[in-house]
Amino acid sequence: MEVLRIATSGSVDDGKSTLIGRLLYDTNSIPQDKMEALHAASKRKGLDFTDLSLLTDGLVAEREQGITIDVAHIYFSTPTRKYIIADTPGHIEYTRNMVTGASNAQVSLILIDARKGIVEQTHRHFFIANLLRIPHLVVCVNKMDLVEYSEARFNQIVEDFQQLLASASFKAQQVKFIPISSLYGENVATRNGTINWYNGPTLLDYLEQIAFDHEDSRHPARFPIQSVIRPRTTEYHDFRGFAGKVASGHFNVGDEIISLPSGQKSRIKTIEQFETQLPSAHARESVVITLEDEIDSSRGNMLVKTDSVPEQRKEVTANVCWMDQQKLVAGKTYLLQHGVNRVKAKVQQINFVVDVTSNQHIEGKNDMGLNDIGSITLKTAQPIFADIYAENPANGSFILIDEFNNTTVGVGTLI
């Protein structure tokens, strides 16, 4: 059964956690003991209803403030598929956690409070979902109960959102609008008839029929080497295998490959998955590859097919989302991690910072602050073999690490 990964986003108090709680509740995914704990916790808080958001807000500080601070991963399944929901924070301060949740998603679910319409965070979250090229976007107009289930109000929000779509760079994103009420469960997993003017699917129905694309399997073949397996035992005395996960595309036994950066050529002798020998390996599969020749390759190197060699880059231009309190500064050196490969990289220049609300490029800036999104150019100490993100996301993204405190400070997608 396939796993559909969803990331929720939206502004504070628009009801993301409640929506997820509702989805779980209506699909009978909340065990009895957890439900009882929810009733009790809601009562202790003096609420006269069961607060479904308490199910996902797992931290004391979250329950205290009634906000989501960090991503919670929630799991449930239907007879059709398995779901992983990354419940991400809406607060601007925690945008980095929103990006964390969104980076692996196939579906971005943006919530809008029907009373408030599109707010600054909607722009930001849409921008990020578009930047990351998440294939599916579901816009849930929530709290319809608080606007008397008004069709006109819903249509107005849809119309406003269309303007955002018009400015998007990733046009192929599939977009769906659904009017819902998480509190009363309308159009989440079931209908209760209060929104009778809406003829489309409920949120769950829509999620159930989203088709899996598996686009990464059609991209050029890339195999970043995680480690070299050399048992040196009597049985495997001469065994020398390259362990890794296929980032994109696929490899077959017998394929002619090039090891980067050395440029040495060889052919694939075997593809192994534990005790099994496979004829081929596809994107996302963890395997061990052995070659016909003894070539010098180690961690951080990449095997590719001779017919699709990525460009060698010592200078990269990328969209970057900055995620640290300390500003990104032009001229500063960071560690750039591309897949499993880490190189030093210096910020040559900040090309522009985006005003996500107006989509305007602000030029001439020397730094980028927390949650800023912009375009920068970096010079790397050693060449990297990356693809343009739009052409091959799995080999077109990287993170920036602060050399002094080791934290992940930025994420970039190659342009």
Binding site: M1, E2, V3, P31, Q32, D33, K34, A37, T56, D57, G58, L59, V60, R63, I69, D70, A72, H73, I74, Y75, I84, V99, T100, S103, N104, F212, Q226, S227, I229, R230, P231, T233, E235, Y236, G241, A243, K245, Q273, F274, E275, L278, P279, S280, R284, E285, S286, V288, M323, L335, Q337, V340, P393, S397, F398, I399, I401, N406, T407, T408, V411
Partner: protein
């Protein structure tokens, strides 16, 4: 010849876990696998075997023995380690008690569950382990649902939920400062059912207490507690024999049994699919407060 692509479970989850284990071995100097003898750590051992095959697992197992384990679990642990030729390090909570570092709880609900954190942190410091691989899953508990795959802990083993590193795509950043360590969770995205399906697919051996068997229990607070000399019982708590099994394996003082006839994997899986109570509903240690797990994690609990 075409190779069947399997995008879903269990292959996709196995591929992800193997990738994480290989990153751990490559990015850290001294990783260690925290082994409890339960189904999740048994799954981890299998994944580690696969990740480095035909090489051997490049890190030892660490078991923090509270001294209150089910004897069946310890027996199983030693059998597994011998059969697979793994290195095992055992650290005992009793030693921490003898050293005066922790104090045994008293009363009816006394358990060594919280005490093992101190023994664990000492073992990490002593062994200079910079990465501790654990079998925690995000579906278990709401504080665990917040955990990163590579989760940084300070030199006191503390987890700071507000300061977690962003974790993007499948790029894992294991860079840490001296004294810090990373808790690594390769099966974060697995559910209880995934683990059982995997155990079935891989035909893995598991301790006998997971299967229905007759044993002495007492009833307390609506739960069935395994009767043992470690449990402080009151006069009215009289042990009786009953056919039960355990859904999760912790100490004998903090793991409740469930009434069950399931003595085969198929039956266990069917039972879990039907279950109305969550897996940790039988963990007495979680019931201490709404934030029991978060508090233990802040203190360095695995």
């Amino acid at each position: 010849m075409t190779h069947q692509i399997n995008w879903g479970f269990p292959q996709a989850l196995e591929d992800e876990a193997i990738y994480i284990l290989r990153e751990t071995a490559a990015q850290f100097e001294k990783p260690v696998l925290l082994f409890s003898g339960g189904k999740d750590s048994i799954t981890l051992v299998r994944l580690a075997q696969k990740a480095f095959y035909p090489g051997k697992v490049p890190f030892p197992l660490l078991h923090v023995d509270t001294g209150h384990n089910f004897p069946e679990t310890i027996e199983f642990r030693d059998w597994l380690v011998n059969t697979l030729g793994l290195d095992l390090i055992v650290r005992n909570v009793q030693d921490s008690i003898n050293q005066g570092k922790v104090q045994e709880e008293t009363g009816k609900y006394a358990s060594r569950n919280a005490l093992q954190t101190v023994t664990l942190l000492d073992a990490i410091e002593e062994g200079k382990f910079d990465a501790c691989i654990g079998g925690a899953r995000r579906d278990e508990e709401k504080a665990r649902a917040k955990e990163r795959i590579f989760s940084v802990r300070d030199e006191f083993g503390q987890w700071n939920a507000k300061m977690q590193r962003p974790e993007l795509f499948d790029i894992l950043n294991g860079k840490i400062n001296i004294g810090e360590n990373v808790r690594v969770f390769p099966i974060s995205n697995w559910t209880e059912l995934d683990v059982w399906n995997y155990i079935r697919r891989e035909k893995l051996e598991i301790p006998s207490i997971y299967f229905a068997h007759e044993r002495e229990i007492i009833e307390r607070d609506g739960l069935y507690w395994p009767y043992s000399s470690y449990l402080n019982t009151t006069a009215d708590e009289v042990p009786f024999r009953q056919k039960v099994r355990f859904r999760t394996v912790g100490d004998m003082t903090c793991t409740a049994a469930v009434l069950s006839e399931a003595d085969k994997l198929e039956d266990i899986i069917a039972e879990i699919m039907e279950a109305k109570i969550s897996e940790r509903g039988a963990r007495i240690d979680d019931k201490r407060s709404e934030a029991a797990m978060e508090k233990r994690k802040q203190a360095g609990y695995f």
